[in-house]
Amino acid sequence: MPVEIDIEHVARLARLELSEEEKARLREQLGAILEHAAKVGKVAADDVLPTAYAIPRSNVLRADEITSSLPVGEVLANAPEVEDDRFKVPKIVEVE
């Protein structure tokens, strides 16, 4: 059975604006894909440990040395809006 999804809720979590048409299509497609993907629940037993990385590595540290940073001008040249060498965003708090 296709899986029922609260598309509005998931889109809000993903910060994704979707048209009504997109929502309808995604509701149908994701339902079908998840129905297929739910197969994973049938095979994996409780005593099987999950794998996050096929070739696990841990505590990969570099030497604590000062190195040059990226060229600030080239980095900021990609930003939609910049002020005083900073990324500028719309207001995020109300000011009295």
Partner: protein, 490 residues
């Protein structure tokens, strides 16, 4: 007589070092081919002719001075998910249409240091999500073997460029088969080495536990040579393995007799085209004729790999793609506040497949569903790795078709995501297990379209995978070229 652009890097290297040809002449041959065919193939998103001409002249000077590494003077193309300083890197997405990276990815950095010549950036499915290259915001790529067909994806532009002689070799990325599947559909060699062998610094991330850089070449020897330039530990990528650099062409011609090869039983079932089955079976017989011991092998959990992949990869993608928020780079669509700005930016900047995967991944990771989907998929990953370990206790390599089908018409599967996802059913397991896998052409089907055979080995078995692929390539003698360029290549 062949054009220079139709030769392999190995052949060109010999002629460059003997001073029979110049890097500039090789480059001009590639540029002429691009001029002749790329309006129809559409492999390139951006050409860097001026950069290439400077690099070719510099390579000629190096070679004249007796300093000629294998990559010197060889024109190459990079998939447009690989960062190139000062050269636009779009990921095939409107959201990064104007992004100019302030640094180079490590593989290009190493190729540049070895005398490489950059032809440009190749088209791909948006953020490497797709199996046909139809998900690019900048239009599809056309298969050089039949321009009405897809070249495969997501690295479709790199595959097509090498198939058509526009580039001598190219880099792509393989998260679920995005190097091997387009190599198979486009009749070239596609190699995905062990996860972590090639640094991903500067590769724009899709699914970090799976993303692997891979090579497109017109011979296995070229794949080994290209890997030798770019592989090895990089302090800039914490996931890169502690492997010293080495020459992977060494031992390439050693015999394969006595080698144990397992034919993956599950990869010859329903859904595999008869033409694919016949070509791959004939190649397996050829391998047997070379003295390899061929037996049957089984990966019992392979049937769950696709499901696990389409939970794990979108989950990681939904997290990785959170960075496209209209603040630091790329598109911004204004909104009343930051949240509205981000939401509108992402709605306008991402295409249908990327939205589908972000939604799928966000759902699979959301409260209440995480264990049932993402958690279970990670357990299936464990089972698939165990399957491989059991198989490799008895055989040295596994063989299967690379893809169940040959190239399909542009537009044929765009409205059916599940049918599209099935393209990767034989390539995904090697990403879930991190193991090296190569696709080489096994022949043509009745329609004249290329078929690929895949060889997979255990972690860090690159020398064995390449040696067997090289022997098989030599025995098969696949010399066909796409009709588009066959006249000049004959």
């Amino acid at each position: 007589m062949s054009e220079l652009c139709d030769l392999t890097a190995t052949e060109l290297g010999t002629r460059l070092r003997a001073r029979e040809v110049s890097s500039v002449a090789v480059l001009e041959s590639c540029l002429a081919r691009i001029d002749a065919v790329d309006a129809r193939v559409e492999a390139f998103l951006e050409r860097t002719d001026d950069i290439a001409r400077g690099q070719a002249r510099a390579a000629d000077e190096r070679i004249a001075a007796g300093d000629a590494p294998p990559a010197a003077g060889i024109p190459l193309a990079l998939k447009d998910v690989l960062s190139t300083r000062g050269v636009t890197t779009t990921c095939g997405s409107k959201i990064l249409e104007t992004y100019v990276p302030p640094f180079d990815c490590t593989p290009w950095d190493r190729l540049k240091a070895a005398g490489g010549v950059l032809l440009g950036k190749t088209n791909c499915d948006e953020f490497a999500m797709g199996s046909s290259n139809e998900n690019s915001a900048f239009g599809p790529v056309h298969n050089p073997w039949d321009l009405s067909m897809v070249p495969g994806g997501s690295s479709g532009g790199s595959a097509a460029a090498v198939a058509a002689g526009e580039a001598v070799w190219a880099l792509g990325t393989d998260t679920g088969g995005s190097v091997r599947q387009p190599a198979s559909l486009s009749g070239v060699v596609g190699f995905k080495p062990t996860y972590g062998l090639i640094s991903r610094y500067g590769l724009i991330a899709f699914a970090s536990s799976l993303d692997t850089i891979g090579t497109f070449t017109r011979s296995v020897r070229d794949a080994a040579a290209l890997l030798s330039v770019i592989a090895g530990k990089d302090p800039m990528d914490a996931t890169s393995l502690d492997q010293p650099g080495r020459d992977y062409t060494e031992g390439l011609d050693d015999p394969v007799s006595g080698l144990r090869v397992g034919v993956v039983r599950e990869a010859f079932g329903e859904g595999v085209e008869p033409g694919v089955r016949a070509s791959v079976q004939a190649a397996i017989d050829t391998l047997s004729g070379l003295g390899a011991t061929v037996t049957e092998a089984t990966l019992p959990h392979a049937e769950y790999a696709l499901s696990a992949y389409y939970l794990i990869a979108p989950s990681e993608a939904s997290s990785n793609l959170a960075r496209y928020d209209g603040v630091r780079y790329g598109l911004r669509v204004d909104g009343a506040d930051s949240i509205e700005m981000m939401t509108k930016t992402r709605g306008a900047g991402f295409g249908a497949e990327v939205k589908r995967r972000i939604m799928l991944g966000t759902y699979a990771l959301s409260a209440g569903y995480y264990e049932a989907y993402y958690g279970q998929a990670q357990k299936v990953r464990t089972l698939i790795i165990r399957d491989y370990e059991a198989a490799f206790a008895n055989v040295d390599l596994l063989v299967s078709p690379t893809s169940p089908t040959t190239a399909f018409p542009i537009g044929a599967k765009v409205d059916d995501p599940l049918a599209m996802y099935l393209n990767d059913v034989f390539t995904i397991p090697a990403n879930l297990s991190g193991m090296p896998a190569i696709s080489i052409p096994s022949g043509l089907d009745d329609a004249g379209l290329p078929v690929g055979i895949q060889l997979t080995g255990p972690v860090l078995s690159e020398p064995t995978v390449l040696r067997v692929a090289n022997a098989l390539e030599g025995a098969l003698g696949f010399e066909a070229r796409p009709p588009l360029v066959a006249g000049s290549a004959a």
